[in-house]
């Protein structure tokens, strides 16, 4: 059983394939589910499931340590965007408590060539899901949502990430 062929070089993968596949997925879901809010929820869930797996790949590739501070986390997320989507989001708008920040980008590879119906669909809902899933695996509970979206006529796309709490290790039965 040879799995060598499945080892794709990140630089050689045609990113348009991803864009088109994602587009097909979203339009199929819109056909089947109809209610855009439910599509958003499903996309977020798919993203979450992807994030849970992607984080392992990311950690193995970058050999990062656990982040102790949100600023470090923001850097890592930025790095992950570069690594997986070849995107350069900027980290801005820190809240004074340092527990909330925005990721801003002006071009998203997932939403190239997309024209949005104005029905409440969040086309890139996969991304916040993936961030939430990935951070959950490194014991960070966060909330993630779009503040601005280019597809809705804004000049940039802005994703807000908010730290909720640190998740604790599960204690084995019988320990305190």
């Amino acid at each position: 059983m040879s799995r060598q062929t499945s080892r794709l070089d990140a630089k050689k993968v045609n990113s348009e394939l991803l864009t088109l596949t994602y587009g097909a997925l979203v339009s199929q879901m819109l056909k089947e589910i109809e209610n855009p809010d439910d599509v958003n929820k499903q996309l977020e869930r798919i993203g979450y499931n992807m994030g849970v797996r992607l984080i392992e790949d990311f950690l193995a590739r970058t050999t990062s340590n656990r982040c102790l501070e949100m600023r470090e986390t923001a850097d890592k997320i930025q790095q992950a965007f570069r690594l997986y989507l070849n995107m350069q989001p900027t980290v801005t708008s820190w809240s004074s408590a340092g527990d909330e920040f925005s990721l801003v980008w002006d071009q998203c590879p997932l939403s190239e060539w997309v024209e949005m119906p104005n029905n409440g669909l969040k086309y890139c809902a996969l991304i916040p899901g993936a961030i939430r899933g990935a951070l959950q695996m490194v014991q960070l509970d966060v909330q993630c949502w779009f503040v601005q979206d280019q597809l809705k006529g804004d000049t940039v796309t802005e994703l807000r990430v908010k730290y909720i709490k640190r998740l604790e290790d599960a204690v084995p039965a019988g320990e305190d």
Partner: protein
């Protein structure tokens, strides 16, 4: 003792050692618990930031086990479990492919070949 019981004991022990090391260390522990040694064997532990623990018992002479565990994580676990959608995360791994790859990988490791020859 059943495998499952043994697993639970192992987890409990690692959990206790981890909190022990974290509390007793005078400095901020960067990597935390790495290994312990008895007169007969050494236990090596690698914990990833995502909380997965890789544990390997070796004889006391073995070198570079930590690097080996990192490779097992990056090249075997991530490839054949994380990227395999049929393997659930947080469930026991039943994949035969993973088992075979891990077996071959360990048998090719310098640590193993030195002992075997």
């Amino acid at each position: 003792m059943s495998r499952e019981e043994e697993g639970k004991l192992m987890y409990g022990m690692l959990f206790s050692i981890k909190s022990f090391v974290a509390k007793i260390s005078p400095l901020d522990p960067k990597d935390g618990f790495l290994n312990y040694k008895t007169s007969k064997y050494t236990l090596h532990c690698l914990e990833t930031p995502s909380g997965i623990k890789f544990v390997m018992n070796t004889d006391n002479q073995a070198q570079g086990v930590r690097e080996l565990l990192k490779k097992i994580y990056g090249e075997i676990y991530v490839k054949y479990v994380v990227r395999n959608p049929m393997c659930g995360i947080g469930e026991p791994i039943t994949s035969e492919l993973f088992k075979n790859k891990l077996d071959t990988f360990i048998k090719q490791a310098p640590l193993y070949t030195v002992r075997a020859s």
